[in-house]
């Protein structure tokens, strides 16, 4: 009952907001280059589905590869930092630097490195953006062993490896998935924004730019809708993974 209410309320609100938007555009005769009506955007989206879908696929794949690569790097890095103090101390300033650099600013450099014809630079940028939250949350999870569990393992005279396997690693899994949830939206945003800086011209952001340049604003909005959908898929995917990983944690 309450779940239905929780889902229904925002859906009703969203539909209402769209209706008001549509009504205003029609009533005030707002021209499409100022603000296209949602129904018109929907119609173009449907009509141009093959093109928009292709853009979604390309940008989405870049984000997904970046997410997987960044997560793998983040997890390996966090495990090394958790167990080797030297690595933690070396990596801390680097990760801090990485977290304050607007990562898409690296895009032009990476395009030069990997060639403007390849998607590699975009995937790499997404991976870098993903790496930071995954590394930070996983490392925190690895450090957060409950005092009662620490006492218990000491009472059991467990070896360091036994303690790691029985408590430290499984205890960090919920933290890792929180990192992935945060990173999942980030990967789409960075993969998309990176397209504005160059590279192949078949992603969603390129499509938005060229549609707007041709004054086809309704089509530009249709691509924006595509970008929103890709972002939503990643967000919901990340959220579901997190729910799955934390379903038995006692807070």
């Amino acid at each position: 009952m309450r779940i239905a209410q929780r889902i229904l309320t925002p859906v009703v609100f969203g539909v209402l907001a769209l209706a008001v938007w549509q009504l205003l555009v029609v009533a005030l005769k707002i021209p499409p280059f100022v603000l296209p009506a949602p129904l018109a955007v929907g119609a173009v989206f449907q009509l141009q589905l093959p093109i928009v879908g292709n853009g979604m696929l390309i940008t989405g794949l870049n984000a997904l590869i970046g997410l997987v690569l960044g997560t793998a790097l983040g997890v390996v890095g966090a495990i090394l930092a958790a167990f080797l103090r030297a690595i933690d101390e070396l990596a801390a300033p680097l990760v801090t630097a990485l977290s304050v650099v607007p990562i898409v600013a690296l895009a032009p450099v990476l395009y030069t490195m990997y060639g403007a014809g390849a998607q590699t630079a975009r995937q790499f940028i997404a991976a870098l953006a993903v790496f930071v939250p995954v590394y930070v949350t996983t490392l925190r999870g690895l450090r957060q062993v409950a005092p009662v569990h620490r006492d218990l393992l000491r009472a059991y005279a467990a070896t360091r490896w036994q303690a790691t396997r029985a408590v430290t690693l499984p205890g960090a899994v919920p933290y890792l998935f929180t990192g992935i949830r945060i990173a999942s939206s980030l990967s789409v945003i960075t993969a998309l924004v990176a397209e504005y800086f160059g590279g192949p011209v078949n992603g969603l952001a390129n499509a938005i730019t060229s549609a707007a340049a041709n004054s086809n604003f309704t089509l530009a909005y249709a691509f924006v809708l595509g970008a929103i959908l890709v972002g939503l898929v990643f967000f919901v995917g990340g959220l579901l993974l997190e729910r799955l990983a934390t379903r038995h944690s006692i807070t």
Binding site: L152, A155, Y156, H248, I250
Partner: protein, 268 residues
């Protein structure tokens, strides 16, 4: 035969940080627990009863004095797994099922895999959780979680059970039922128990001997042997004249302790 626990002249001081003075948590503690004996440590907050238990478990080291468990120094006894332990928090691993939680010490200590399943089933039956083997801790009530923790502590049939306010977070009804079950389990397994509590009726109901402690620094005020009619039902014991008399005796010992005055009373 050596005592289950033998504490001689144990003192524990925690060093101060910065300008703060160090704290003497325990001073010159002498304690003897016989095999199979149920001993409660009772006292107001800060009297060092939990610290004493941690010393016996070798989770902390004494600043002075010696602690032996079945004739071995505490550190050796811990490595030999001479005791099982339960804390105020159940401390279950949330990602493991009830059965897997009980199995944890068996896995860590290379208990023959072929016999693990049977042993876990036995322990589940002992604490009355046969139907909950595949549940996760978050699906259990606080009392059930604590029963899992007790089963886990008993997994390797220790001759000594160390318990640090295991029922402290439970409601009164659950608490009394758990006390009854613990008494039965201790009787069935024949294990010695060192039980930390701040509940006088709990200590009297469970114990063969109640050790009363005073705070700052933690000292043993007195030891009181408890004699209740054995074999009668738990509720009869709790309502017996002997029970009330001994609860009063422990209370008087506790209140005779300086520093145990009721809070909020102005003594100027």
């Amino acid at each position: 035969m050596s005592a289950a626990v033998r504490v001689r002249g144990a003192t524990k001081t925690f060093p101060g940080r910065g300008r703060a003075a160090g704290v003497t948590a325990l001073e010159n503690i002498e304690l003897r627990v016989e095999p199979g004996q149920f001993v409660s440590l009772i006292g107001p907050s800060g009297c060092g009863k939990s610290t004493l238990l941690r010393l016996v478990a070798d989770l902390d080291r004494p600043s002075a004095g010696s602690i032996e468990v079945f004739g071995d120094p505490a550190a050796k006894a811990r490595v030999k797994q001479a005791y099982g332990i339960a804390f105020q928090q159940a401390g279950l691993l949330p990602w493991r099922t009830v059965a897997a939680n009980i199995r944890l010490p068996l896995e860590l200590h290379r208990f023959p895999p072929a016999r693990r399943h049977a042993r876990v089933a036995e322990l589940l039956a002992l604490v009355g959780l046969e139907d909950f083997a595949d549940r996760y801790p978050d699906q259990l009530s606080g009392g059930m979680q604590q029963r899992v923790a007790i089963a886990r502590a008993l997994a390797e049939s220790p001759e000594l059970l160390l318990m640090d306010e295991p029922f402290g977070a439970l409601d009164e009804m659950t608490r009394e039922r758990m006390q009854g079950e613990l008494k039965r389990i201790a009787g069935e397994t024949g294990a010695a128990v060192v039980f930390v509590t701040h509940s006088i009726p709990e200590a009297v109901f469970l114990s063969d001997k109640v050790v009363v402690m005073s705070p700052r620094p933690g000292r043993i005020v007195d030891e009181l042997p408890i004699t209740l009619g054995t074999g009668s039902a738990a509720d009869d014991v709790r309502e017996s004249e002997a029970f009330f008399r001994q609860v009063s005796a422990v209370r008087e010992l506790l209140h005779g302790v300086p520093g145990a005055a009721p809070r909020g009373v102005d003594l100027r």
